[in-house]
């Protein structure tokens, strides 16, 4: 068990910078998830911790040791790979005991540890099987047992559930959480699936284009995103973003205005451009908005598409007249004319219906449209606000 410290980790390939000045402190026994889009550098960052990739600059410490120049075998880490990476020519016992046998543990000790690890991941009685004879979930459990058996300081997991089917993935997710509670070891986990990141981690490190965007507990990333990228990446479907001008006491967008408490205008002057961010669940139909404490003024909209999910219905709203309804790949509303709302499944609503909606002003976020930095979370006076932004892009460590 040990903490992991990354200082100024930078990895440059010939013409690309995969990881750019990454600083991070992962506590002993903490479960930290690296999350970000494909190719953002999260796997490269993990590989520098594992020693499979040498950083161009910066140092990696595991516990008190500087391991930056050590080969993987001397770092006392274990890793679970995306493609599972069981040795196809060895049976389960040989796979799990591979590392122990390399380290010349005596037979009894190897047997004892393999048995214990197999017990933890429920693989009893499968020691003689070859990997090709097992299902995906079983193979993944063997890979985890192979990592467990060495009792490493740090577990590294590189998208370990990515190749499993959806149902098994959810199951393994809970198993991993149970495992973490039982072992209490430092775990670094890489995924592009934000559901995995949200559900399992103590803290999430959101990475984009090789840079650390925010490292914080999951709910903080969700409720107080440090910048536009985190706001858009965490949460599915994505947050609504609308460009607005600051006027005295209100924000004016192309199609509607939101009034805000003048007491909260510090740092904002009339005439500034901001990006408003609001999550689909913080948009309410006017007729069901009784519980909202700080509603905005009414916004006129027309329903465009309904997506009933069972437990909720996503409603794509169009505001303004000649609206642009193109969408981005994340499924979020992509233009200023669109607004995505989530409502109860028993709400009576039809497509092409003219409705009035309100926003929960306490949960409206403001971002600087140029730098992306969060300016404010909530548009009501500081007394009842959910929080004030204290982190920017640069000061994430």
């Amino acid at each position: 068990m040990a903490n992991v410290t990354l200082e100024g980790i930078t990895k440059r390939y010939e013409d690309v910078t995969a990881v750019d000045d990454m600083n991070m402190e992962i506590g002993d026994g903490e479960f930290v998830t690296f999350v970000g889009p494909s190719g953002c550098g999260k796997s490269t960052t993990m590989e520098t911790i594992a020693g499979l990739t040498k950083p161009t600059e910066g140092t990696v410490h595991i516990g008190e040791r500087d391991v930056t120049r050590l080969p993987p075998k001397d770092r006392n880490i274990a890793m679970v790979f995306q493609n599972i990476a069981l040795f196809p020519h060895m049976d389960v016992y040989d796979n799990i005991s591979f590392g122990l046998r390399l380290r010349k543990y005596d037979k009894d000790e190897v047997d004892r540890r393999v048995e214990e690890a197999a017990d933890i991941v429920q693989l009893e009685g499968m020691m003689e099987r070859m990997p090709e004879e097992m299902s995906g979930g079983q193979r993944q459990r063997v890979a985890i047992a192979r990592a467990l058996v060495r009792e490493p300081d740090v577990f590294l997991m590189d998208e370990p559930l990515a190749n499993l089917d959806a149902k098994l993935r959810v199951h393994m997710r809970t198993e991993l959480q149970r495992l973490h509670r039982r072992l209490d070891t430092t775990i670094v986990y890489v995924t592009h699936d934000q559901a995995e990141a949200m559900t399992m981690s103590d803290r999430i490190a959101v990475i984009n284009a090789g840079q650390l965007m925010q490292i914080a507990p999951p709910l903080e990333c969700y409720n107080e995103p440090a910048n536009l990228f985190v706001a858009g990446f965490i949460g599915s479907p994505s947050m609504n973003f609308v460009e607005a001008d600051v006027r005295s006491g209100e924000l004016e967008t192309e199609n509607f205005t939101i009034e805000f408490d003048p007491a909260t205008t510090d740092g904002l002057a009339p005439g500034d451009r901001v990006t408003i961010g609001v999550r689909p669940e913080d948009v309410y139909l006017e007729r069901t908005a009784d519980g909202v404490e700080h509603p905005s003024g009414l916004i006129d909209a027309r329903t465009d598409v309904l997506e009933p999910m069972g437990n909720e219905v996503f409603v794509y709203l169009v505001t303004g007249d000649d609206a642009d309804t193109s969408m981005d790949v994340e499924g979020g509303a992509a233009t200023d004319d669109q607004l995505l709302m989530s409502v109860d499944p028993d709400t009576e609503i039809d497509i092409d219906e003219d409705v009035s909606v309100v926003l929960d002003r306490s949960r409206v976020h403001l971002f600087d449209p140029d730098t992306g930095t969060a300016l404010r979370h909530g548009l009501i006076s500081a007394a009842s606000a959910t929080g004030t932004p204290e982190r920017g892009v640069g000061d994430t460590d």
Binding site: A50, G51, L52, P71, P72, K73, I77, A78, M79, F81, Q82, N83, I84, A85, L86, F87, P88, H89, F98, G99, L102, R103, R146, R150, L156
Partner: protein, 324 residues
């Protein structure tokens, strides 16, 4: 219903008769061509057998001829026509009595085995580097290997022979007279070098196909890069290693030029099978039957090796060829 089917059958018979009449007007070749166009299988099948028989004949007939020559008693070869002139299976024992042919075979086996081991070891390291690492100058370096493999081996012979005949004082404690001539090294060194490029190319292809994740897993689990090569990459490339190994072994075993010239032809000087076979050719007499019998005995181990390893060789060669 019944009436309808009746008329149908009558009609069908009528058209069948017409067709038959047409067919009778064509010659047999024309008919066969016509049938082959409508059913290409009729053409492919005889062609398949024709080509197969041709290949079987050209590959197997020399062996039959060899066997026949071996079985024909000495001095009766002039009247041979497809069957042996007499029957003398004892020649397969005599060859060992006339010359220590078993010693020649032993020499050949040792030389081929050692050369194969050297080739597999060095080519594995080269294959790992070319197949799994990227570094500046990799392309040119690989081209250089390719280039060297295109040199005619004979071009190296004279300088090598000269070198091997030189007495090198530091080798004196190891080799009796300090020169490599008449030692197994005189064959192992050049033959390993000649078969190295082929093995490097085969192994490069195979090692490059092992997923990076497996090597990473081995390294995280506690091996070095070399350890990962020997514990994971090589075992998983078994067909490729077997192919490279068998091709090298057969190549060295069958090699003529260096084998003939790098020793003085005496069994105690590590002369290979080739010198043994030629040994039945004396100044006044040539024992063709013994030469043929020795040839068969010399070929047998290779035939067995190929039959045993055939599946792996075929899968190895095709897997290499079908990369990506």
């Amino acid at each position: 219903m019944a009436a309808e089917t009746e008329t149908e059958t009558i009609e069908r018979e009528a058209t069948g008769e017409q067709k038959g009449e047409q067919e009778r007007n064509r010659g047999p070749l024309e008919r066969w061509v016509g049938d082959s166009i409508s059913d290409p299988g009729r053409a492919y099948k005889p062609m398949f057998w024709l080509v197969t028989i041709f290949f079987l004949f050209t590959t197997l007939f020399p062996f039959y001829w060899l066997l026949m020559v071996a079985l024909t008693p000495e001095g009766q070869l002039q009247d041979v026509w497809l069957t042996p002139n007499g029957f003398n299976p004892g020649v397969f024992i005599e060859v060992f009595e006339i010359l220590p042919f078993h010693r020649y075979m032993f020499n050949s086996f040792v030389i081929a085995t050692v050369a194969t081991v050297i080739v597999l070891l060095v080519a594995s390291l080269a294959g790992y580097v070319f197949g799994r690492l990227s570094f500046p100058g990799k392309g040119p370096l690989m081209l250089l290997v390719l280039l060297v493999s295109f040199f005619p081996p004979a071009a190296f012979f004279i300088p090598l022979n000269d070198l091997f005949n030189t007495q090198i004082s530091i080798l004196e404690p190891v080799l009796s007279d300090g020169s490599i001539y008449n030692t197994p090294y005189a064959l192992i060194i050049p033959l390993s070098a000649i078969f190295m490029p082929l093995a490097i190319f085969i192994l490069t292809t195979f090692y490059s196909q092992i997923p990076d994740g497996l090597e990473d897993a081995a390294r995280v689990e506690g091996t070095t890069r070399l350890g990962a090569l020997f514990r994971v990459i090589i075992p998983l490339s078994a067909p490729g290693v077997a192919t490279a190994g068998v091709l090298t072994f057969i190549g060295v075993y069958n090699e003529f030029f260096f084998s003939f010239l790098m020793t003085d032809g005496q069994p105690q000087s590590w002369a290979p099978i080739l010198d043994g076979i030629l040994g039945y050719q004396g100044q006044y007499q040539t024992l063709y039957n013994a030469m043929a019998a020795a040839s068969i005995i010399g070929v047998l181990p290779m035939a067995i090796l190929v039959v045993v390893a055939q599946e792996k060789i075929v899968s190895g060669l095709t897997a290499g060829g079908l990369k990506e």
